[in-house]
């Protein structure tokens, strides 16, 4: 798993270099996965030991700059910026304040990233707009809102020109987007209920006793389709890492969300970070 860490830290660095220091604050794991998918499948990854800007006294191994990391860096800044815009729009003046500040910090980096990837920016806008529309309509299905996010993630992998590879990557990313969106909705179930906000899982399974089992079945089918796509991708040296995420990481997260342990884990992680 050290290699995953190296990609993560390498992505953090690529974001700071390409989009300014504030970009590191919106680093996330989904796009680390994307960087791994896009990385070359041959040879050994070049790792360098560098100082971590968050914990400057520690030197960590990180993947050296590469086109894959740059794409993932730009795209995660673009997505984060638009998500912040959504938060600012949905929250009131005071509760939206942190998002407003972060958006302001991210603004310059976002503009740089858009100059490099205008197409991805266009798709993110379009898909988030679609998602917003479905939320406003109180869409009763799971698939339509999940599709909006899944198509967004699917667009994150640039075409390689090789049809078989592109189709397999598209299926992998589509179902990863679907899986993330729906699991996130399940995780937000309680807080959305308290606030009375839109939640596709709540609407779809209202009053059903076996709601969790049904949602799990559909999430597992997405996972099956991800795995079968992954088997066709020929990821070379990345294969083990990607398999690890698909066979251990994602099922474990899923289990934690359904058990209600996930919220605690998230809290614990933030707490731990504060003392590191």
């Amino acid at each position: 798993m050290d290699l995953y860490r190296a990609y993560y830290c390498g992505l953090c660095r690529a974001m700071r270099r390409g989009c300014g220091w504030a970009a590191g604050m919106v680093l996330n794991y989904d796009f680390t996965f994307l960087a791994i998918l896009l990385a070359p499948t041959q040879g050994t990854p070049v790792e360098r030991c560098r100082r971590c800007p968050v914990r400057p006294f520690r030197r960590v191994a990180m993947c050296a700059a590469s086109p894959a990391l740059e794409i993932a860096a730009d795209e995660s800044v673009i997505l984060a910026y638009h998500q912040l815009c959504d938060t600012v729009r949905d929250d009131g003046f005071f509760s939206g304040l942190p998002a407003r500040v972060l958006r302001w910090l991210l603004c310059r980096g976002y503009r740089k990233a858009v100059r490099r990837r205008p197409e991805f920016d266009r798709i993110v806008r379009q898909q988030l707009e679609q998602l917003h529309k479905l939320e406003q309509e109180n869409c009763p299905g799971l698939d339509a809102p999940a599709d909006a996010f899944a198509c967004l993630l699917q667009a994150a992998a640039p075409k390689s020109g090789e049809d078989a590879r592109d189709r397999a990557a598209a299926q992998l990313l589509y179902h990863m987007g679907r899986w993330i969106y729906l699991l996130d909705a399940r995780d937000d179930l309680e807080s959305d209920e308290k606030r009375g906000s839109y939640n596709p899982v709540a609407l779809r399974y209202a009053g059903q006793p076996d709601a969790d089992a049904a949602l799990r079945a559909t999430l597992d089918r997405s996972l099956d389709l991800m795995r079968s796509a992954c088997a066709l991708l020929e990821l070379g040296r990345q294969e083990e890492l990607v398999n690890n995420v698909l066979w251990l990481g994602m099922p474990a997260v899923c289990q934690a969300v359904f058990d209600g342990r996930w919220a605690q884990m998230k809290k614990h992680r933030i707490w731990r970070k504060g003392y590191e």
């Binding site: 996965f33 968050v54 960590v60 189709r167 397999a168 990481g249 997260v253």
Partner: protein, 195 residues
């Protein structure tokens, strides 16, 4: 044709047993059973063909080196024999990946029985709209409880079909807690501050 050894991922000096083992593992991975109704079934079929050819080529080169019959099975396509003309055409369109056309043709049908719902489910499945697919398969099964094709599709949505599981994730001794926690770190939905 590519070098048969590189197709199987073994060195030309590999023993017959090693070649057979590599072939078996790849055949397990790309077996049509794992790709039933999967939109990528045709790609898996191509891979299967390539490794079959490679294995046969190596066997021929090494005449008499412990034969192991190759797998031959049709891919996971929708059967095209049942149904009226329009539905047969819908099945063809689905197999060809022309989902919008298939849906348009379905929308144009006024007689909506079990097969109509089954095929709507199949289109939804190919699009990745798995919940929609499940609901349509459920209705198809209610309307036509004796139909094995519909029941099989529904069961696959509920419990999953065959999937290839890499050896290291094939059960037996489970991963230690530490690995799991590291993995959880790997796919958090949402952002996270710093490293």
């Amino acid at each position: 044709m590519n070098d048969p050894y590189s197709v199987l991922g073994v060195s030309p000096n590999a023993s017959d047993d090693e070649v057979k083992k590599a072939y078996r593992e790849l055949a397990r991975k790309y077996h049509p059973d794992n790709y039933q109704n999967n939109p990528l079934a045709d790609l898996a079929e191509e891979k299967m063909k390539a490794i079959n050819e490679a294995y046969e080529a190596i066997q021929k080169q090494r005449e008499g080196g412990g034969g192991y019959s190759t797998y031959t099975q049709p891919g996971g396509q929708y059967r095209q024999t049942t149904g009226t003309g329009a539905y047969a055409q819908v099945r063809m369109l689905i197999n060809a990946g022309s989902l919008d056309q298939a849906q348009a043709l379905l929308d144009a049908q006024s007689d909506r029985g079990g097969e109509w719902y089954f095929l709507c489910g199949a289109v939804a499945y190919r699009r990745g709209w798995l919940d929609e697919a499940l609901r349509n398969y459920q209705i198809a099964c209610q309307m036509d409880p004796g139909n094995m094709e519909y029941r099989q599709a529904l069961m696959m949505m509920q419990t999953g079909g065959h999937t290839y599981r890499p050896h290291q994730y094939g059960g037996g001794s489970g991963p230690d807690l530490c690995t799991i926690l590291m993995c959880i770190d790997c796919c958090t939905p949402g952002g996270c501050f710093g490293c």
